[in-house]
Point group: C2
Chain length 315, copies 2
């Protein structure tokens, strides 16, 4: 008990005793057992994050932002990879709850009803990040993928007479992919255009997927004049494929992406895309959680982090 006091309330211990205890702590290499502490305090100091994959700069940077922010309060991040499956996410959440994490960050808004039920029942702070859900589970830090992609596509429509194609990635269990496509369709419809099924492709989330997609699109007799890609990864893959095929971007085909990865600004041609504050989303998510854990419910639990259209050379 005196040891506990030396560690948590040293002023309540005589300097002499304090010294003695500290010396012994040093000598025997005592390190307080945070597991046991968690048992009594009902606080683990661990925040869980469910991400679809770590192999994605966008998500990695959000995670990085969270990790850095949490480090300031001695909280640790526990990571689970759902591999873009809501079912897997559900299992991961179940396991996190059993581990009594203090709060949970979820990528996106595609949770199963059971996941939502469990989280509500557990009553811990939850942040959905990267998109804005219609009915949040708890708190949110993200940007509206629909609005952002719609804004970009509206710009493309003006510049390229409405002949816009789309290459996206699997929207199943992935609300970001789904909403970016929705934004694309919404922009077309708002301009009185009919979305062409043949111009909407779905490819794996990789440069190779983008390359494959653009080639398929260009092989069509009636090809679009510009293509909006669901992510910069697909967009860069598409551009590289065009360059390999001897096509000029944007002269032969214009291409735009989403995310504003570093490569977007560096490549030639530079990539027109949507900048989203990835790192800041992570930071904000962590701040929301920190506030909730401190007992103050944030004034604005749904943080729209905004976006910016980056018009560059590719479109």
């Amino acid at each position: 008990m005196t040891v506990t006091r030396v560690l948590h309330a040293p002023e309540k211990v005589t300097p002499a005793t304090r010294e003695r205890v500290l010396r012994i702590i040093e000598a025997v290499g005592y390190v307080p057992d945070l597991v046991a502490r968690s048992l009594t305090s009902a606080r683990t100091g661990v925040v869980a994050a469910v991400v679809p994959t770590l192999s994605n700069s966008l998500i990695a940077e959000v995670t990085q932002g969270m990790s850095q922010t949490f480090a300031r309060h001695g909280r640790q991040l526990m990571i689970g990879a759902s591999n873009f499956s809501s079912q897997t996410e559900e299992e991961i959440v179940r396991s996190f709850l059993a581990r009594r994490v203090d709060a949970i960050y979820l990528t996106g808004t595609s949770q199963t009803p059971e996941t939502i039920r469990m989280l509500r029942a557990a009553g811990l702070p939850v942040v959905q990040g990267g998109n804005i859900p219609e009915t949040p589970i708890d708190m949110v830090a993200g940007t509206s993928n629909t609005i952002a992609s719609r804004a970009l596509v509206e710009g493309l429509i003006k510049r390229y007479r409405g002949e816009i194609g789309y290459i996206g990635h699997d929207p199943v269990d992935n609300d970001r992919a789904r909403d970016r496509k929705r934004g694309y369709i919404a922009a077309l419809e708002a301009a009185g255009l009919q979305p062409q099924p043949g111009w909407m492709l779905e490819r794996p989330l990789s440069m190779a997927g983008g390359a494959d997609g653009i080639m398929a699109l260009l092989a069509q007799p009636d090809r679009p004049r510009a293509v909006f890609c669901g992510t910069d990864v697909i967009a860069t893959g598409a551009i590289f494929a065009c360059l390999r095929a001897g096509l000029r971007v944007p002269d032969d085909i214009a291409i735009a992406g989403y995310d504003d990865l570093e490569i977007a600004g560096q490549m030639t041609p530079s990539l027109t895309t949507v900048r989203i504050p990835r790192f800041d989303i992570g930071v904000r998510a962590a701040e929301l959680i920190d506030m909730a854990l401190a007992g103050e419910r944030p004034v604005e639990p749904v943080a729209d982090m905004g976006f910016q259209i980056m018009w560059r050379d590719s479109a």
Copy 2:
């Protein structure tokens, strides 16, 4: 106690009782508290990974490999970002030990003496990943950065008459960066060449850093014929900068990287680089840890995962 038995040894419980217990578990939404279980079992089921940053595809994929492999045994990954500082790494390790993680993965081999002391004292399985240390703390899953970069640079020397420059990133507390530079120097010296201080630059680990580096190198009156970059990120940044400046790669300047990120094979010109099995390093690290935790000390605790030189268009 009967509940515990239903969960861990259902065959020791009458079917009727089992049903009844399960029904109640369902009804009250009981979820076993893994924190309490950890206290008794002295096992948390949590493995910690210290990474310099998550915003790096290379590291993210290693982590992804670990995460997936651990998921099979119900283990969770806890992540700490050291931000390329051994001192920060030490603090993170201290915190992980207090949390009684079952094992620790460390990126690279630049640990402080105190970190090593703590880990030895704690006696838990440790894997150093991504490089091969001279004196491992415990287990290892990586490739020799020195040997791999030396092999690549030797190839460059043959092709470009020994006029090879180098752009690397900060080697302080970063053994991978340090060893890649060592490999570069070793290759030159083995060929009887004198490393030129003016041809060895250090830049931030980003495409912008690579762009800046190559421009500085090309501005010199006596410029090298080829440049070895410490990572693909720097190399791609350098190539893009050359393209923007109207220089041809490899005709005007040859450029090679290290890591074989997806972009290396996709960009134009495609990037000559060193392929390292990032995902597999993560998987192997996790396997080594799983074995150690199962009580079997692996036959070969130091796993050299090898590498492959990818000769492509850029050099």
